[in-house]
Amino acid sequence: MTKPAVFVENLTCSYAGKRALDGVSLTIPTGASFSLLGPNGAGKTTLINILCTLQGADSGIAMVAGVDVARHPTQARNSIGVVFQDSSLDDRLSAWENLEFHGLVYGMPARKRRQRIDAVLDLVELSDWRETVVRSFSGGMRRRLEIARALLHEPALLFLDEPTVGLDAQTRQRIWAYLDQLRRERDLTVFTTTHYIEEVEGSDQVCILDGGRIVAEGSPQSLKDEYARSWLHVVPLDAAARDTIAAAVPDCRELSHGRLAIPLAGADKVDAFLGQFGSLLAETRYEPPSLESVFLSLTGRELRDRMADRHAIEQAAGRRAGRR
């Protein structure tokens, strides 16, 4: 049997008195598509940093492609490609020069470098922009170029930290399709962190991280089967109505904007609930079992306030681009 692509055991890491990772254990088989799901501050970036050898852990074992990252960081680095959450391109250099730099730093010989640069530029459809200085690239083009760069040295394991921010649906699909092909052909393992549910549904293995702990792990379907319940999201008419409902349904969850989530055991429960409280509600919405509802069940919180979040991230990306 081949070694797992990632092996983490009892990993603990804290800084400034706060525990970022608390006894995390995790195994990802080679060739898998793995998604790490969790809200901001759950410890996703800390875990990636440790696996990428940028940061040390307090205790526990972290291995990448069978190599202990703490003991043999250089060896581990050779087998990983990383796309960071924030752009790490040099925007005074052209697309081609950024890739050339990467190839040189990874010690690739000239001919192979040229060949691979052409291949990855083709993949992300940036061949026409190879001589263009990165400064003039849009956010989506930068992302694509970064993914191309991370694949340049043919890593066994690809880390994507919040990879698809700012990408249009078409590009996203294309990149996933290519990554899937690489997984099949070369046993590439893809490690993604995200807080977008859509990203996760297609992966082989999902891990939900919250407060530095793994709260659930498995394939998307098994997680749904195990943890997902149907929920009824309701908007009460006023605060008094809300209190009444909360008192009557003790296992309801409070959501943002004064909404409540009512757990439903079966379809008949909906009718019973609406019959009882229908007059107190301004709006109701039925939520079928999904990973989002898995997350809600496990943590008692929504994964995120979707629109506000996306807006904030894109704003930050824009500011970065502007400041350069």
Binding site: N78, F84, R92, F101, V105, Y106, M108, R324
Partner: protein, 271 residues
């Protein structure tokens, strides 16, 4: 060999990136020209009447060279100082905008990453110093190929030390704004107390003897390592040394080695 070659490629890549960035940065290039122009053309020519001879023996400023010749090597050092220390901006920049992480997850060992960066920075600084040599004609400094080669060597060694110093600064400074203030409070005082624009040696003539500088100023000049760098370049370019000629190479070598080791310690610590 098969192990060393990829590492050399990496050092070359990092060096290349620094050079490309430095030469493409118009602002930096303009700074590299405006400083020698301001110092040699404006200041050197402007102050020339105050240092020229009116009555034999009545010169206030007794060095066996003209003021422009005296100033010329110091302007080279000034240009190198600015470029080297402002190289720290590029280090802060890389850190702020994440590029550093791209290099840190690569298989390049940390010391070689630092070496590549410092070599790139010092090449750029040497280039800026070499630009000043074009003005040798204007300052009436005659240059032989030997002198140029020796001067370039000294300039590179000085650039190396100062670039490492810049990296040390960068690891202690968190913001660009803070760096601007800091660099000016470091570069200009170091420049002015390096005996760059006035000679220190009071023994050249009786007139000069009557006008010795206060001890505190002499002390500041003597403890300033840049003094010896300027002195070394003066020795090479106009054959004039105020201090024993061995001091210059010794101080520059000590700076290059010392600051590189310190920078290495700092860089290894940075995440």
């Amino acid at each position: 060999m098969s192990r060393i070659l990829p590492l050399l490629r990496g050092v070359y890549g990092i060096w290349l990136r620094e050079i490309l960035r430095a030469t493409r940065d118009r602002g930096q290039m303009i700074g590299g020209v405006s400083r020698p122009l301001v110092w040699l053309l404006i200041m050197g020519v402007g102050l020339n009447p105050y240092f020229r001879g009116e009555v034999f023996g009545e010169v206030r400023y007794v060095v066996p060279y003209t003021y422009l010749q005296f100033l010329f090597p110091a302007v080279i050092v000034l240009n190198i100082m600015y470029t080297s220390i402002q190289f720290a901006v590029s280090v802060i920049w890389d850190r702020e905008f994440g590029f550093l992480r791209e290099v840190l997850v690569s298989p390049m060992p940390r010391p070689l990453i630092l070496l590549g960066k410092v070599l790139g920075g010092s090449t750029a600084a040497t280039l800026h110093g070499a630009i000043v040599l074009i003005l040798a004609r204007f300052a009436d400094v005659t240059l032989t190929p030997d002198q140029v080669v020796m001067a370039l060597g000294a300039m590179f060694a000085l650039s190396f030390g100062l670039t490492c110093f810049g990296v040390l600064l960068a690891s202690r400074i968190r913001s660009f704004e803070g760096f601007g203030v800091f660099s000016n409070t470091i570069i200009l005082p170091l420049y002015f107390t390096s005996s760059s624009i006035f000679p220190l040696d009071p023994a050249l003539s009786r007139t000069q003897m009557a006008a010795t500088y206060p001890e505190w100023l002499v002390f500041m000049v003597q403890i300033n390592p840049i003094t010896y760098a300027v002195d070394l370049l003066r020795g090479i370019l106009i054959n004039f040394n105020q201090f024993p000629p061995a001091y210059g190479p010794a101080v520059i070598a000590a700076m290059a080695i010392g600051f590189f080791l310190l920078a290495l310690v700092d860089f290894g610590r940075s995440k």
